[in-house]
């Protein structure tokens, strides 16, 4: 495996001299896969003009909506503004986007833009870089050296580390800590005197190479980076982080821009002339909110107390041995936090979550400048929080009143709170603490303090003595929950020239600008031009016995509903070939219904036709199940995958082609409406943005449902059925919130089906779809455009050709 990737790297290194050869080699490798249809593989690929930009597109044909998407995107780039684009899955959004932006860059050589592409999962990151590779290879063959770019993926240490000793650590945080233990500046200084201190060879040789440690141009996936690092003996993580400022394209996770703790380190050097893309962004408001929300439990406080004890000991030790160090820190703090620039790159492991700029310039308040004073303040804070957790009732408070009662009862001022996070950071640095994951509890508390001290609006503090769903188990929790998604994303909108928010489901498209409070210059929803009706959405409202089905609270555990849901699946698995995917509204509902199906024998009937796999809350287990599911589909055995809306699978895994011929959404995936946090957020949305509670809940549930069923299709050659199994989907107010590309295929006759009718439709649909067909489109509708078509379009106008 490693040999292979090394080869890839060498090929991309030699691109400068011999691009043609490597492309040929690439094509040869592909052809040898399948000689059967060699003529499909021979590629002409496209070059066409959109106004003044020459676009390079690495395929023979282009979908009309891809072309339109590029046109709109170009308008947004020209206007240097933000845009919001909804385009159905399966229409090649990513390649259209990459192709236009890289071509745009090539057409403006004097003011090159940088592309920052944000994905939600590592899997999507690798997929995007894979597509970029194809594109880049193609641009190189046409333009030669001037098309060279540096593109790389950036991820956590866990995904990039190549040091086997560090990797032996079990989770992400211990990989981080194990790395810091070997790379922190004071550890390295210590190692200079004491040969027994372990260092990381990869990091050492990366440091030794200094400014010469550079990545040659090319497109690097995480795997490529690891291979390159191993080959050169340089640490891929630090190399990648260093290269971020030189790269033309960066692909990384949302958090690197939205979570201020991370963004402060990774993304602070990005220039204004960058295009930021948030792909699959239908949940972006939730990511923003999560980034600014903190919860504190009893264990957090206990841990934080232990952390303080440890810090106290360290302070005493330093006082005895190196008092000068503490004094130097004190002096630095008087001058303000912005001046701590003398710290080396590896030491900047956390930065301030507070957004206002003044915090960096102001001097740290006097009462926490001295280390031991700061520890005292934190002790008082912990004590106060502990007292608040003792409550027997649910309490809800605004940050303003929380801060004022904190001031009166514990004597901690708002300004002091605001500085907590940075003060802790500075102290830990001074004390040379590397076991950062051990200090997570105290960091969480300081994070909380800084946020509550910084924001007066858009947040609430909710204290619950127990989980609503399990009232007999006391589990007090104090949550600082953010309700305003625009807070976290505001700096991104302010700082960068163009921000592109795109997804397969952004309906209703006018809601997102309100939720995120920005003004897009372009906001469009594209239809899908279909070669044939390759998706078949259905609304199933009742079982074969005519009893209604729904996951409405009063109906969901009704034996009739559970049975009818089961029967639906039993019948479907006997008709649908290969893969079937099911989504439930929650883990607990899935657990319950599967247990019942197991007892009543329905599960046994299902397994007579197909193997069954489940998503669980354990990520590793789920990954394994998913892997096996795909293998079962590949080998022809067929399988059913049971999953949960809002779960990890629903967020980022495609069930295209034979991996999903049918997806069933059991119920409407509403959020848990009794949740105090949700209620507080709804109230905030109503008061601030005039968004009605019911509207928001329906919008949120339907975007999740659309997201689940949208997994089934990834190209127009693909086909699949979608069943919305709940009587509530037949109501217009619910259904109309689905994205247009699904609605346009939802026929009136399919709005109120029973199981037997659905089976009949499924049989007909599958038989029809399994036939060969003409891919370029029939009946006067062009669904696949060639270069000639585009040239003609440039003369006659887009609309005539496309529809």
């Amino acid at each position: 495996m490693f040999n292979k990737t090394l080869l890839v790297i060498e090929v991309s290194l030699s691109l400068v001299n011999n691009t043609q050869a490597s492309i040929l080699a690439g094509n040869f490798a592909k052809c040898s896969d399948s000689n059967l249809a060699g003529h499909w593989r021979r590629r002409k690929k496209m070059i066409f003009k959109i106004e003044d930009v020459t676009v390079y597109f690495p395929y023979d044909n282009i979908y009309p909506e891809q072309y339109e998407y590029m046109v709109e995107l170009k308008r947004a780039l020209d206007a240097k503004g933000h845009c919001l684009l909804e385009m159905p899955t399966g229409t090649g959004k990513t390649i259209a986007l990459l192709s236009l932006i890289t071509s745009y860059r090539l057409s403006r050589p004097d003011s090159p833009i940088k592309l920052v592409y944000c994905t939600r999962t590592v899997h999507e990151m690798e997929k995007t870089l894979g597509e970029l590779k194809i594109l880049h290879d193609y641009q190189l063959t046409h333009l030669g050296a001037q098309a060279k770019i540096l593109a790389l993926g950036l991820s956590s240490r866990k995904n990039l580390c190549v040091n086997s000793k560090v990797l032996a650590a079990e989770n992400r945080d211990s990989v981080d800590a194990a790395c810091r233990k070997r790379t922190a500046s004071w550890v390295r200084a210590l190692a200079a005197e004491n040969p027994n201190v372990q260092l990381c060879d990869y990091f050492e040789s990366y440091e030794k190479a200094a400014d010469n440690a550079l990545l040659p141009p090319g497109v690097y996936t995480l795997e490529d980076l690891r291979a390159f690092g191993k080959n050169r003996g340089w640490c891929p993580y630090f190399l990648a982080r260093h290269m971020v400022q030189f790269a033309n394209v960066i692909v990384y996770s949302y958090q690197y821009l939205l979570d201020p703790k991370v963004a402060g380190i990774i993304s602070k050097e990005l220039q204004k002339e960058s295009v930021i893309v948030f792909d699959e962004a239908h949940n972006i408001d939730n990511v923003c909110i999560e980034a600014l929300s903190v919860s504190v439990r009893r264990v957090t406080l206990e841990g934080a107390n232990r952390n303080l004890n440890k810090i106290r000991q360290e302070i005493d030790r330093f006082k005895a041995t190196d008092a000068g160090r503490l004094r130097a820190e004190y002096n630095r703090l008087i001058e303000g936090l912005a001046l701590r620039g003398d710290l080396s790159g590896t030491d900047q492991w956390l930065a301030n979550p507070a957004l206002p700029n003044d915090i960096l310039k102001e001097a740290v308040p006097g009462n926490i400048r001295r280390a031991e004073h700061f520890v005292h303040v934190l002790r008082r804070l912990l004590q106060y929080l502990g007292g608040r957790l003792d409550t027997e009732n649910v309490e809800k408070e605004s940050p303003v009143s929380f801060v004022s009662s904190l001031n009166s009862q514990a004597g901690i001022e708002q300004k002091t709170l605001k500085f907590c996070y940075d003060r802790l950071h500075s102290l830990m640095m001074t004390l040379e603490i590397t076991d950062t994951d051990e200090f997570l509890p105290i960091q969480t508390v300081c994070d909380f303090a800084t946020l509550v001290g910084t924001y007066a609006r858009g947040f609430s503090i909710i204290i619950e003595p127990y989980d609503e769903r399990m009232p007999h188990i006391p589990d007090p929790i104090l949550q600082l929950s953010c309700h305003d998604a625009s807070l976290a994303i505001k700096p991104v909108f302010d700082r960068f020239q163009s921000v592109v928010i795109t997804s397969g489901t952004l309906s209703p498209i006018d809601l997102y600008p309100r939720l995120l409070s920005f003004n897009p210059v372009v906001s469009r929803s594209f239809k899908m031009s279909m070669t044939r009706d390759c998706i078949c959405p259905m609304v199933l409202t009742r079982g074969s016995d005519q009893l209604p089905v729904s996951t409405k609270f009063d109906m969901r555990s009704d034996p009739g509903v559970v049975r009818n849901y089961g029967k639906l699946l039993v019948e479907m698995v006997s008709v649908v070939p290969d893969g079937v995917v099911c989504f439930f509204v929650s883990y607990s509902y899935m657990d319950g219904i599967i247990a019942t199906w197991n007892e009543t024998g329905i599960l046994k009937e299902i397994t007579q036709q197909k193997l069954v796999f489940f998503e669980t809350q354990d990520v590793v287990e789920t990954t394994l199940a998913l892997d096996n599911y795909r293998r079962a589909c590949d080998c022809g055995r067929g399988a059913v995958f049971f999953s949960v809306a809002r779960g990890k699978v629903a967020e980022g895994i495609d069930f295209d082609r034979h991996y999903g011929r049918l997806v069933v959404m059991f119920g409407v995936p509403f959020q848990y409406t009794l949740s105090k946090i949700l209620l507080a957020r709804l109230e905030y949305l109503r008061d601030t943005f005039q968004i009605k509670e019911g509207d928001f809940l329906t919008f949120d549930a339907l975007r999740q449902a659309a997201q689940c069923v949208g997994r089934v299709i990834r190209s127009k050659a693909d086909y699949g059925m979608m069943i919305f199994a709940d009587k509530r989907y037949s109501r217009h107010d619910k259904r109309s919130k689905l994205p247009g590309w699904i609605l346009s295929h939802l026929r009136d006759a399919h709005l109120n089906l029973s199981t037997d009718m659905a089976i009949h439709i499924a049989r007909e649909f599958l038989r029809k779809m399994a036939q060969p067909y003409d891919k370029t489109g029939t009946m006067g509708r062009k669904t696949l455009l060639t270069q000639e078509d585009l040239e003609k379009m440039a003369e006659t106008g887009v609309q005539d050709m496309v529809y």
Partner: protein, 514 residues
């Protein structure tokens, strides 16, 4: 020596083989025997024609090269997959009776009463159970044992460790099912209490450590980047989730029976499974392969499918034992939707018409892509399947029973056998034309004789059958006789033509004497 041994197993064959002019390697011979052994129909044909010297050994095999190809050597035996259903589910019942569990295997039997829990829940097994008053028999077959061991490596390891040094196999399974029962009651407190007293029982109740370790090694994929995603340890040590069990079960089924032990001996099954695991671990195979597969998948998804040739997935080949049975069962679906007979007839004509049209088009315009328009292909296939299924229904009246099924079994087998042997003869007969050598000439003659023989057998069969079936039977037999008649006609016409030709030319050649 091995080949000879095989020959003795097949006492009918050797004479015919030895006459073969060509020198065959021993491997080839072995392969032919093997194919014959596995295919009784072929064996019967071979016996009928090769041994009676109607066909030579080489002629017989010449049309079946594919059966002897490389693929057939590799895929000699179709691996029988495991059942998708979970076999070892045990759950409490609520009828309040005391049950005795009887575990039985080929070598031993044991029975033990199930203690009532406080909720008076008595267990019974989901599958393979026969309830007699208060007894539940659970057949512990070797397949079930295999599945338990494969799904629960810790149980397998416990078996290797404890049996027979610490306990007997009977005791082992008693403990195992006791643990399963405790688990099924969902009463974790009782389970924990019993596990505290009995360390072997505890092994069965605890989450599987070996599994957890394997899973950890394969960790990659869908976790979100950047957020904290530490897997929380399971709260109750004695709780397993049904979903995890199901996932594990499906994984084992997918893996198939990956050990080469046919033995009924439980210990050797356990040891073989342990070996398989060790080997794959030593190679680092599991993680490496998985990783490679993941990379391959990644490059597949990066490209857009519309412009690519279809992917070749590692499909498990399906060999259908009785094709006739299989395809007839498939027709059930079509029958339900068949329209009236009138429209059907029209459809057949329409389909035929459009097929003819597209063939004409190919003649004038040459090949195009797609070769045949999808709509045409669809229509043709649809009307063909419908014709087959309706024909069957009209004759058989009852959709589940065709006329063939109403014949006495012996007659039915005879009809089917005649059908295949006539096919065989016709195939060889027609391939002998045009006759260019004496060899082909004698071959055609021999075949003609054999066919006349078949013809009279068909006549005899028609006579022998009961009168009420005779009409239907003759309908069935008619196409065969028509095919034979056509062959006879051709034979005679060709003979006449050639006699005339040789009479005109210089006489005295060998072929003139015929």
């Amino acid at each position: 020596a091995k080949a000879l041994a095989k020959c003795e197993e097949e006492p009918n064959k050797p004479a015919a083989v030895l006459t073969s002019a060509e020198q065959l390697s021993i491997a080839d011979l072995e392969l032919r025997f093997k194919v014959l052994r596995e295919n009784s129909e072929l064996q019967r044909l071979h016996k009928e024609f090769v041994e009676t010297k109607v066909l030579t050994e080489d002629e017989f095999w010449a049309t079946r090269k594919k059966l002897l190809g490389k693929d057939s050597i590799r895929k000699s035996k179709q691996q029988v997959g495991l059942k998708s259903m979970m076999v070892s589910g045990i759950k409490p019942s609520t009828d309040g009776r005391v049950y005795y569990i009887i575990l039985s295997t080929p070598s031993w039997k044991l029975s033990f009463p199930v203690k009532c829990s406080c909720r008076k829940e008595i267990m019974h097994t989901i599958s393979s159970l026969a309830q007699l008053t208060n007894r539940v028999t659970f057949n512990l077959t070797s397949e079930i044992i295999f599945q338990i061991f494969a799904e629960k490596p810790a149980v397998r390891q416990a078996f290797i460790n404890y049996v027979p040094s610490k306990m007997t196999e009977k005791d082992f399974w008693t403990k195992y099912f006791r643990a399963e029962y405790l688990y099924s009651t969902k009463n974790t407190a009782v389970a924990a209490a019993e596990a505290a007293e009995d360390e072997e029982l505890a092994v069965f109740l605890k989450p599987d450590e070996i599994l957890a370790q394997e899973a950890r090694q394969k960790d990659h994929g869908i976790q979100r980047d950047g957020t904290m995603d530490v897997v929380e340890p399971q709260n109750g040590q004695f709780r397993r989730s049904l979903l995890q069990d199901l996932n594990r079960h499906a994984a084992v089924v997918l893996e198939g029976r990956n050990i080469d032990v046919d033995s009924e001996d439980t210990r050797s099954v356990a040891e073989a499974l342990a070996r398989v695991k060790q080997v794959s671990k030593a190679d680092g195979e599991t993680t490496k392969d998985a990783n490679q597969e993941r990379l391959a998948r990644m490059s597949r998804v990066a490209e857009m499918e519309d412009l690519q040739a279809p992917q070749n997935f590692p499909l498990a080949p399906l060999s259908i034992k009785d094709p006739r049975d299989y395809f007839e069962s498939q027709q059930g679906n079509v029958v339900n939707e068949s329209r009236g007979a009138g429209t059907l007839k029209r459809n057949v004509h329409e389909a035929y018409g459009s097929l003819k049209e597209s063939i004409l088009e190919i003649r004038t315009k040459g090949l195009s892509d797609p070769l045949i328009k999808p709509e045409v292909a669809f229509e043709v296939f649809r009307s063909l399947t419908q014709t087959i299924s309706t024909a069957k229904n009209i004759i058989g009246k009852n959709p589940r029973e065709s006329f063939l099924d109403r014949l006495p079994k012996s007659t039915r087998d005879e009809v089917l056998h005649h059908w295949t042997s006539i096919q065989e003869l016709l195939k060889h007969f027609w391939s002998s034309y045009p006759i260019t050598t004496t060899y082909l000439h004698t071959k055609a003659g021999k075949l003609k004789d054999a066919m006349s023989n078949s013809y009279s057998l068909l006549e005899a069969m028609k006579e022998s059958v009961q009168s009420e079936l005779r009409h239907q039977l003759s309908l069935l037999v008619r196409p065969m006789q028509q095919a034979l008649d056509a062959a006879f006609q051709h034979y005679d016409a060709d003979l006449q033509r050639r006699t005339a030709k040789s009479a005109r030319g210089s006489a005295g050649e060998a072929n003139g004497s015929v």
